[in-house]
Structures are given as structure tokens and as C-alpha cells.
Amino acid sequence: MSDHIVPVRVYWSVFITLLVMTVVTTSIAYIDLGPFNLLVAMTIAVFKATLVVLFFMHIKYSTNLTKAIVISGFVFLLVMVFFTMCDLLTRNITAPGR
């Protein structure tokens, strides 16, 4: 546990940013961006999650070991997405000569 004391205004700033980004997410859902729909939605979601992890979960002020543990969680998420996409993106490719 970090001993760092975070000023209350930081928490309020993060909270308000999260609220604003939620409004942005909802608003953008009404606009058809074609192939960018998913990209934009995911970018906003990742940004919000990063704020929560860094400030509300105090990771910004934690030791490197704690940071490494948190990052490893995301690495494993990427592993899951990567191998699942390996399947999805190559499913319809047939072998040469068939």
C-alpha cells in the first residue's frame, strides 16, 4: 500500500473526466463511424480504465513490483486477444491448391 496522499481535487478531476467520457461514449454511439465504431469506443474505454487504475487504484504511486503485476494482467489479456484473433482472421484461408 502506498503512503502517498492524493489531494481530493485529483479524485474529483478524475471523477468528472470519467463522467464526461461516459457522455462522449454514449453520444458517439449515435454516430455511425463505420469501421471506426469499435476503435473509438475501445479507445475511450481504455482511457477511462487507465484513469481508474492509475488514480483510484493508486498504481501511479505504487512500487515497481505492483506496477509489474498490473501490467502482467494486461499482457495476459493481450495474449488472449492475440491468439483468438489468430483463429478469427485465418479461419477462411484455405490451403494452396485446394
Binding site: 488472449m80 491468439f83 489468430c86 483463429d87 482472421l89 485465418t90 479461419r91
Partner: protein, 545 residues
């Protein structure tokens, strides 16, 4: 004449007699008492799961549907799988032996978060009660794998209730893993460096990483399943824009590493047992320690071998096949190191060692048949046959349960302070080994000949193998029930164990049996390497103020 009042000799205080009453157990924060609570709970669920297994084997003794109808049979094997995997095998060694021993082995007074440790038990019990609720109100028939679209669309069972039960029980597993990781990082006694840790602790460290990283994925998967089944949100159903294979990806991303959650702690037990009963340090300590971590890491990269016939891309299948072969390397490192430890060692065939020898043989067969299934061509023939059933029972029963029994017998004197009957326990170990092989080896043949799993009606030519298997199950059942008798008997009538009945190294053997609530009267300072049998004693301790 002078008379004196009889002097009452008070039994030395330990974690068992430190406090009395139900409340003192249900509100305890002592890792040892929580381990005992877990021991009682998982034993209860093991018996329930065993009853389902008995009914399955009784039904399969004849080719016709004599005992139960199809729907009931589907529920029997589903409940057997769910209870045995989520409520017995996953928590078995970590929550009981790991909980009891990790603080003792590293020279700590307790786990890092004692309250969270107790919370994990209550969460486990809540998950267990929810499962029992499903069981008595109608059950679920999807198989423990919950494959869509059966589970999301067609099943009439209590899918969402069961998913909730597993969702809840999963948090117990996450909290246990979290507690272990923090404890091993932060609470080692002075001098207990990473490479002086017992291999049991290394195995639990690797297991904890799997529990923390994998279990949330299962929780999310079951949540998505519930959303689709309850609210018709399209995630897995193609008609709603979903992908049914996605469910299998997500499910096996947890459930394949879950196999290692079950087997890695057993491997930790086996390393301790073999070292103790061969009177020497394990051959290649560092290799065994890192192979645990390697299994944990590789274990996350192989899940696609469960999907070879699911319309998964052939190219992804090739990658998963190669990666699956790679897991064999750290597994083989362990097996070779254990056998090399025994070579020219002073092997003592006590009960834990008998179980350990059984483990090595059965795990090897289970592992090698896994390579058959990792080969894409072979797997097309063997998928969903009894070959698969035999394979994973060799890993989970022959491996994990034999490892659990080895550990339970090895540390029983430490946990209870009493010795059990060596003769009966050896007989039991042999019966378990014979019964196990008679139960599951014929299933390899059945599967190879083409009998599919999860069917209770089958062609008459398969009956001989099914009869052999059912006969073996009754032998196995006797072998597994015997420890209930002689271990319970030992609680009252067993000889006092003393602090170190096996002459083992390791800090847990240098404190009383049963240990006091604080584990050690003084904080131990470790000055020797682990398994220092050459020096005639284990990790040395010196007094600190």
C-alpha cells in the same frame, strides 16, 4: 500420612486447543484453522461428486439405459464435473495444504491477509451452497464445459444459477492466490531467500499466478453466457451476431490453465515427499522451481487444442498444437528430476512415497496421452471419445488426487499431531492405484475404438470394457474410503507424532505438531539451503530476540 492432590498436566497449547467452540472456528483468522475448515468442506463436496461418479459407473455397467434416462444421465455427469473440478480439485491442495503450510514453510506467523483468507472460505461455501441448490432443484445438463449454443439457447437446466455459483466460487480461488503471492513476496523469514524456498512454495506461487490471471476470465465468460441466455444479447449466437467458437476460446483460456491449477500444487507435494523419503535434495532444484513457472506461462498459450474440431482456423490449430507440445518439456523436466532424485537415494516406501510413486507413473501416462490429443490429425479421431475422459482422469485423479493424498498423509502428523496406521494406509494406497488403473485404462481402449463420451447407451461390444471400468471404480471407491476410517481413528488413538516424524528438512518440521497459533515461538532465521540432508538436518534456525 501426607496426601497430595493429583497434579493435572495441561496439554501444551496449539492451534487446535487454543480456543474452543464453534464461534472460535467460524470467526478464526488463523491460516491453520481455515485450512481445516477447507479440508472438511472439500471432503464433503468430494463425497457428493463421488456419489455422482458411482451412479454414472453403475449406469454404464450395461449397454442399455437401465438406471436413469438420458436427461438424468446428462445431469449426473454435469454435476460430477462441476463439483469435482470447481469445488474439490481447484481448491484441494492450495486451500488446505497450501493454506496450512505456506506460512509455516517460509517462517511467517500467518498469511498476509488473514481476514481475506477467512472471506475466501465463506465465498467458497456460498458457491458450494448455490451449487447444492441447483443440484436439489433440478440440476443442469450442459456438461461442466457449458458449451454454447446448448447452454445459451437449448438447455432446460439451471444454467444461470450454476454459472452464478461458479462465478462466486471463483472469487474464493482468486483471493487465495492473491494471499499466497503477497505472502511469499513479503513475509519470508530472514534468510529465506527465493532459492531457499521449498519447491512446494514455488509450485504454489506459480499456481497463484494462474488463479489470479485466469479465473477472472472464466467469471467474465459465464457473465456473458448469462447475458445471452437471460437478456438475448448477441455474443455467442450467430443469429444475434455472435460467434459460438468465441465461447470456447474464452472458456478454455481459463479452463486449460485450470488443469495446471490442479496439478502444479500436486507437483509441489511430490517434490517434498520424494526428497524426504529419498533423504536427499531434489535433483535440479532450480530446474524444478522454474519449470513450475514455465508450466504456468506455457499453460496459458495452449487452450486452442480443445478447439481442433470446432471450426477453429487450421493455422491457429497448428500454432496451438506446437505450443501444446512445448508444455511437455517442463513437465518432463520434473518427472526426470524426481526419478533422478530417487536414483541411488535411500528410498523409504512409506505411504506418502507410495502415493508419490503412483503419481509419477499415472501423471506420465496422462501427460503422454495428452500429446496424442495435441496432434491435430489424431485428435479428430479421439475428440469427445472416452480416450479424452481417460486422459484427463489420469491427470486429475492419477495426478492431482494422488498428489493430494500424498500430501495429506505426509503432513497429517503436522496438522493433527497424530500418526495414522502405516499398514492400513499402505494397503489403501495400493488399492487406490490398482482401482484407478482398472477404472480408467479400459477407457483409453474404449475411446480408441470410438465410444463417445457423455452417452449412457452404447453398442454391446463395448460392454466388457465398461464392466472392467465400473468394477475398477468400486475398487477405487474402497481405496478412497479407507483413509476416512484410519485417519479419523488416528485423531483419537494415533500415536503422538512429535515435531518431525519423517526426519524431514523444512521449517514446518521445526515447530510443534500441531503448531501453536503463532507457528513459531521465535522468528526463525534461515542459514542453510533447502533440503540440506547432507548436513544431517534441515534449514538451521538461530534465536533472535
Amino acid at each position: 500420612m501426607i496426601t497430595t492432590a493429583p497434579v493435572e498436566v495441561e496439554a501444551p497449547k496449539n492451534y487446535i486447543n487454543a480456543e474452543y467452540g464453534l464461534k472460535s472456528w467460524l470467526l478464526t483468522q488463523d491460516h491453520k484453522r481455515i485450512a481445516v475448515l477447507y479440508l472438511i468442506s472439500i471432503t464433503f463436496f468430494f463425497l457428493i461428486g463421488g456419489i455422482f461418479a458411482t451412479l454414472i459407473r453403475l449406469e454404464l455397467a450395461t449397454p442399455a439405459a437401465d438406471l436413469v434416462e438420458s436427461n438424468t444421465y446428462n445431469k449426473l455427469f454435469t454435476m460430477h464435473g462441476i463439483i469435482m473440478i470447481f469445488l474439490f480439485l481447484v481448491p484441494s491442495i492450495p486451500a488446505t495444504l497450501g493454506n496450512f503450510l505456506i506460512p509455516l514453510m517460509i517462517g511467517a506467523k500467518d498469511l498476509a491477509f488473514p481476514r481475506i483468507n477467512l472471506l475466501s472460505w465463506y465465498i467458497y461455501i456460498l458457491g458450494g451452497i448455490m451449487t447444492l441448490y441447483v443440484m436439489v432443484t433440478g440440476g443442469v445438463d450442459t456438461g461442466w464445459t457449458f458449451y454454447t449454443p446448448l447452454s445459451s439457447t437449448y438447455s432446460n437446466g439451471y444454467v444461470i444459477a450454476t454459472a452464478c455459483a461458479i462465478f462466486v466460487a471463483g472469487f474464493s480461488s482468486i483471493l487465495t492466490g492473491l494471499n499466497f503471492v503477497v505472502t511469499i513476496h513479503r513475509m519470508r523469514a530472514p534468510g529465506m531467500t527465493w532459492f531457499r524456498l521449498p519447491l512446494f512454495v514455488w509450485a504454489h506461487y506459480a499456481t497463484s499466478l494462474l488463479q489470479i490471471l485466469g479465473t477472472p476470465v472464466l467469471a467474465v465468460t459465464l457473465l456473458l453466457l448469462g447475458l445471452e441466455r437471460g437478456l438475448h444479447i448477441g455474443i455467442f449466437d450467430p443469429a444475434l451476431g455472435g460467434d459460438p467458437v468465441l465461447f470456447q476460446h474464452l472458456f478454455w483460456f481459463y479452463s486449460h490453465p485450470a488443469v495446471y491449477i490442479m496439478i502444479l500444487p500436486a507437483m509441489g507435494v511430490i517434490s517434498e515427499v520424494i526428497s524426504t523419503f529419498c533423504r536427499r535434495a531434489p535433483m535440479g532444484y532450480t530446474f524444478i522451481a522454474f519449470s513450475s513457472v514455465a508450466i504456468a506461462v506455457f499453460g496459458f498459450l495452449v487452450w486452442g487444442h480443445h478447439l481442433f474440431v470446432s471450426s477453429q482456423s487450421v493455422y491457429a490449430g497448428m500454432v496451438f498444437s506446437v505450443l501444446s507440445y512445448l508444455v511437455a518439456i517442463p513437465s518432463a523436466i520434473k518427472v526426470f528430476n524426481w526419478t533422478a532424485t530417487m536414483y541411488k537415494g535411500s528410498v523409504l516406501l512409506s505411504t506418502p512415497m507410495l502415493y508419490a510413486l503412483g503419481f509419477i507413473g499415472l501423471f506420465t501416462i496422462g501427460g503422454l496421452t495428452g500429446l496424442f490429443l495435441a496432434a491435430m490429425g489424431m485428435d479428430v479421431h479421439l475428440t469427445d471419445t472416452y480416450f479424452v475422459v481417460a486422459h484427463f482422469h489420469y491427470i486429475m485423479v492419477g495426478g492431482a488426487i494422488l498428489g493430494y493424498l500424498a500430501g495429506l498423509h505426509f503432513w497429517w502428523p503436522k496438522i493433527t499431531g497424530r500418526m495414522y496406521s502405516e499398514a492400513w494406509s499402505r494397503i489403501s494406497a495400493v488399492i487406490v492405484f490398482v482401482g484407478f488403473n482398472l477404472t480408467f485404462f479400459p477407457q483409453f481402449v474404449l475411446g480408441y475404438l470410438g465410444m463417445p463420451r457423455r452417452y449412457h447407451v452404447y453398442p454391446p461390444e463395448f460392454q466388457i470394457y465398461n464392466v472392467l471400468s465400473s468394477a475398477g471404480a468400486s475398487v477405487l471407491g474402497i481405496g478412497l474410503l479407507l483413509p476416512f476410517v484410519y485417519l479419523a481413528f488416528s485423531l483419537k488413538y494415533g500415536a503422538l507424532a512429535g515435531s518431525n516424524p519423517w526426519g524431514a528438512t523444512g521449517l514446518e518440521w521445526q515447530t510443534d505438531s500441531p503448531p501453536t497459533t503463532e507457528n513459531f515461538a521465535i522468528t526463525p532465521v534461515v542459514t542453510a539451503e533447502a533440503y540440506d540432508y547432507a548436513a544431517g538436518q534441515g534449514a538451521k534456525t538461530v534465536v533472535v530476540a
